[in-house]
Structure formats: structure tokens, C-alpha cells
């Protein structure tokens, strides 16, 4: 057996390019369907779990899919805004806990999520280092976000400007990292969490500047009367919220009209959920209610239909590739007729020659299976991320 293996191995090594191409072709036809199945199964399982954990979502009228993807996975375009009043209104019903979500900004490449402490309880997010959010201007990082931003409690991170060319757009705000969450294997790992007020300040709805009523700090005051103080552009705007300047931050206008991306509603029980849905079913309702589990099932049903077509295509390509490889082996045996004849003339049994040729095929198959296995393991590790990125960022 050792000699058969040796001769087969020497042939394959000598013809390394041909062998490499055969292994690559076989690897692809083994790996593709395996990886597709594995990644889709695992990813859909995670998508479903996240959706199933989120009973009801409130958002502005529009795409239910966009709302679900944004609120659950912090992916895609930020959903159309709804007013903060929806949170108060929902709370007033007494049927559910309302958790606000403000999305759309980023720190580096990580999504910034403005929310309330209820979110952390709802998602069972535990602080692994530091402490939870307490004040505006503070941030708690998901485990992967902390790694990506190379930040730990005590560090600062800066929000990304919406556009460097838009002077009227949001300016970067420095946030103080006070905590890092334990990893959960969910999109929360990637997020940078702040309270909703901080998100509004980042969006320019609230702002902080030096106290103009303080005569010592009013070098930029142009006009002052009983009700108004007018300052020029030299007025110092704070780009970081600190405990010292926190009192100087304020909002103009009624908070009820401020924007949110979505509200997660956690009904007290099943009946409360049904009642809530019923209240917002009117076609002219300014708020839309969706059940994320149903939305994701619809999306996944489409994905699985596509998967069937892809698998059918892969099966066809695989069959064609296998036929070609079989042809290559047959032609190769024909080309090696002289070699086979030499071996049998010297004294090799026909069965031994067949065993050598068969071992060559087995070695190629084994290498392909091994390689496909390694690639599938890699796909199992990173495929979920890739799947989410492909599916969620493009929708």
C-alpha cells in the first residue's frame, strides 16, 4: 500500500499544475453547495432568533423590511423618522414598554445607536468592562465595536461627520467610552450605544455652548435685551459633552417632535400585543406596527427560493465539472498507456496498476474534500458576517 501511495503521490506532485486545477475544480463543486447550505442555515437561524426576540416594532409608514433591518440589525438605510411622541403615546397605553431607537450615525464604520437603558435589559446585554450609560455624552461599545475602534473605558471616540463637504451637516462629537459590552454574537456587538439625547445632539437638534448670561464668557455677544441674547459666530460650541458642560446643552423646540428611527414595543403579554397592533392598523395612522418575525420570514422565504435556483445551478455545473474531470482521467489513462504497459511488462499486476491510478483519483478527491472542509469551516466562521453584509447592507 505504501508503494502504491508513493507512486500515486509522485505522479500528482510531478503534474502539480494539472493536479492543482483538478483539486480546485473539485473543491469548488464540493464547497459551494456545502457552504451555501451551512451559511444560509446558520445565518437564517440567527436572523430569525433576533427577529423572534423583538415582538413589535413601531416606525414611520414605509418599508417594513427597511424598518426591521434597520432596527434589528442596524443595517441598510436608516428608516424614515417618526416622532418621539410615539414613545410617550405607547407608554401611555400601558400595554407595552417602549424602547426608542435612533439610528443613522456612525463612529468609524460602526453604527451608532441612540436608545434608552431599557434596550440593554431587553436584549440582556451585560457590561463586561466599565459601567452602563448614565449621562449624555457617554457611550457603551459593543464587543466587536470596541475591538474595531480600539477603545476601552476611559477612551474617547468621535462620531463620523455625515459629509465632510457639507458645512451645515452634523459635526463630529467626541463621546466618552464608559463601558464595553460582553460579546453576544448579535449585531449589538458591532454597535456604539448612546442615549437618545446624545444622538439628537450629534444630529444638531440639541447643542451646547458657553453660557451667554455669564458676563465673563460673553465675548461674542452682539445684542442683549430682556428676552434675547444674540451672539456672533465666535460663540464657542461644545464638541464634547462633559459633566462640566452638560448643563449648557439644551434643545430648541418640543421634544415630542424630535425624530426617532423606530420604537421597539415589548408588550406586557400576548393580548396586549394584539391590542397594540389593532390600534395602529388604520391606513392613515402616522405610525406603522410590524412583527419583525413575520417580516424576516418573508425575506428568508425569498432567499430560500433563490437558494434553490442557485443549488440547482451549482448541481448542473458540478455534474458538468465531474464529467469533465472523469474525461480528463480517462484521457490521462490513454496518454499513459505506454507507462501502464511498461509497468505490466516489468511485472506489475493489472490490479496493482489500477490501484495506483485509483489512488491518484482518491488523493485528488481527498485533497479536494479536505480543502472544501477547511473553506466550509472558514465560511462557518465568517460566512454569517458576509451573509449579513450581502443581504442586509444591499436591501
Amino acid at each position: 500500500m505504501k508503494d502504491i501511495l508513493y507512486l500515486a503521490w509522485r505522479y500528482l506532485v510531478f503534474n502539480r499544475w494539472k493536479t492543482g486545477i483538478l483539486i480546485a475544480a473539485l473543491t469548488v463543486i464540493i464547497f459551494l453547495p456545502l457552504a451555501l447550505e451551512l451559511v444560509l442555515d446558520r445565518s437564517s437561524e440567527r436572523l430569525r432568533a433576533r427577529a423572534a426576540d423583538t415582538p413589535l416594532l413601531f416606525g414611520a409608514p414605509g418599508s417594513a423590511l427597511e424598518l426591521s433591518l434597520g432596527a434589528l440589525y442596524f443595517s441598510g438605510e436608516s428608516p424614515a423618522p417618526l416622532e418621539y411622541a410615539a414613545v410617550a403615546e405607547l407608554g401611555d397605553t400601558g400595554l407595552a414598554t417602549a424602547i426608542p431607537l435612533h439610528l443613522g450615525y456612525r463612529v468609524g464604520l460602526q453604527p451608532l445607536v441612540g436608545t434608552s437603558p431599557d434596550y440593554f435589559r431587553f436584549r440582556n446585554l451585560a457590561v463586561a468592562a466599565g459601567r452602563p450609560l448614565a449621562l449624555s455624552g457617554e457611550t457603551v461599545l459593543g464587543a466587536a465595536a470596541a475591538q474595531a475602534l480600539d477603545a476601552a473605558p476611559g477612551d474617547g471616540v468621535v462620531t463620523a461627520p455625515e459629509s465632510v463637504f457639507d458645512v451645515t451637516g452634523t459635526y463630529p462629537v467626541r463621546l466618552r467610552v464608559v463601558g464595553v459590552l460582553a460579546p453576544t454574537g448579535t449585531p449589538d456587538d458591532e454597535a456604539v450605544f448612546v442615549d437618545v439625547r446624545t444622538a439628537w445632539i450629534i444630529g444638531g437638534i440639541g447643542h451646547g455652548h458657553e453660557n451667554l448670561e455669564d458676563p465673563t464668557a460673553s465675548g461674542s455677544v452682539l445684542k442683549r435685551d430682556d428676552s434675547n441674547i444674540v451672539a456672533n459666530a465666535a460663540l464657542v460650541q461644545y464638541r464634547e459633552i462633559t459633566p462640566e458642560n452638560l448643563a449648557e446643552f439644551h434643545f430648541h423646540g418640543a421634544i415630542d417632535g424630535f425624530p426617532l428611527s423606530a420604537v421597539i414595543a415589548v408588550p406586557a403579554d400576548g393580548k396586549s400585543g394584539v391590542l397594540l397592533e389593532g390600534r395602529y392598523q388604520a391606513p392613515d395612522s402616522p405610525v406603522r406596527v410590524v412583527r419583525p418575525a413575520e417580516v424576516m420570514e418573508e425575506l428568508l422565504a425569498t432567499v430560500f427560493t433563490v437558494r434553490q435556483y442557485v443549488l440547482a445551478a451549482v448541481a448542473l455545473v458540478g455534474a458538468a465539472t465531474l464529467a469533465t474531470i472523469a474525461l480528463v482521467f480517462l484521457l490521462s489513462i490513454r496518454l499513459r498507456r505506454a507507462e501502464i504497459r511498461t509497468m505490466t511488462r516489468i511485472g506489475a499486476a493489472p490490479g496493482r496498476v489500477a490501484a495506483i491510478l485509483g489512488t491518484e483519483i482518491l488523493l485528488v478527491l481527498a485533497a479536494s474534500v479536505l480543502l472544501a472542509g477547511l473553506l466550509t469551516a472558514a465560511a462557518a466562521t465568517w460566512g454569517d458576517e458576509m451573509f449579513r453584509w450581502l443581504l442586509l447592507s444591499e436591501t
Binding site: 509522485r10 506532485v13 504497459r341 511488462r345 516489468i346 499486476a349
Partner: protein, 222 residues
Amino acid sequence: MISVHNLVFRYPHGGFRLGVPALDVAAGERLAIVGASGSGKTTLLDLLAGIRVSGAGSVTVAGEELSRLTDAARRSFRLGRIGLVFQAFELLEYLTVRENLLLPFRISPALSQDAETDDRLIRLAEETGIAGRLHRYPDQLSQGERQRAAICRALIASPDLILADEPTGNLDPDNKRRVLELLLEQVENHGATLVMVTHDQDLLEPFDRVLEMRDLDGAKAA
């Protein structure tokens, strides 16, 4: 060493017929068989090597009547007792010269390689002038070197009989003479019997005996 009696051979689907009423080759003898292309020289060598088996008559080599052996026994016998040299060298391109020389040990469990085999390989390679080429592939050798390697492979298992099928057929005149001298020298050094088929009349002088195929073949002689 070889004794052939009333040998008759026909290819299953062809009209070719070979008949050898009698042929005896003594141990250590150097016999050349000459004849035109298609006269049955290679077929006769195949019959002497037990690669083919006659329909009638007997071929006895080193005391073994080949037709009475099973296929497996004939292969083992050939591996251990008969060395074959081919016209086209028949070295495996994907093996180094050293690996080609040891091929008989790799293709059958009937032979086992030991320290003596390695010593023999080195000695053969040195005697034939290819010691420096052992780790090269056949396509990195000259034609003459390839045939020398093929001769070494035929001798590696210390055979009693060497059957050479036009071993100089692919060589230029200079190499022809050199390879033949080398083959004869090695056969003598190892105390083997040589039966060589050729159609080259210029190479016959060093042989103990030369036979014409048409004299051998009873059917054609008649």
C-alpha cells in the same frame, strides 16, 4: 537457461503465427536474434519473458515452465529472474532516475528492497556512469543516459536473464556501440544470460551466437 520446444503462438485476432520448433540458450550465453520488422522478434521475447503464453509447446526458463505458472507466479518470476530492456527506454517521466531504477520493487510486493538493493543501485549507477544523474528526471538526461538507466533498472533485481528488445534502436551510432558494450559488460559482470533482439547487423560481432528469425520460425522456414 532457456529451452523452447514446439512453440506455437497466434494473436487472437490476427493472422500472425509464430512457430519455434526448438531453441536452447545456455546460461551466460549472449544470443542475438535478428530479423526484419514484423518477423516476430518482440513476440518471441514476450513469450520468453512470460508476458505472453504460447498456445502450444513449452517455454522453460531457469527450470520453470512458464505456461504452467499462474499469472501471478509468472509476474513474480519475471520480476525476480528476468530483466527487460526496451527500445524506447520506458522510464517513467514523473520519477527520478533513482526511483525509476527501484520501480520493480515498488510495483510488486514480490520484491522487497533492502540495504543490499541500495548498494547494488549505487554500484550499477557508478558502473554505467549515471551516478551523478540519480536525482534527475528522465527528460533531463541524454538518450544514451536514459538507456543506461533502463539497463540499470533491468539489472537491479539481479536477474538471471536479460531480454533486450532493440535497446539501441533509438540511439545514434556512437551511443549504440557504447550502450551495447555497457550492456554486455554488465551482463558479464552479473553473470546473466542475454537475449537481444536487433535488426542492426553492425552490432552482432560481440555475441556468442546470432540467430535469424526466419531460421528460428519453423513456419516461415518451411
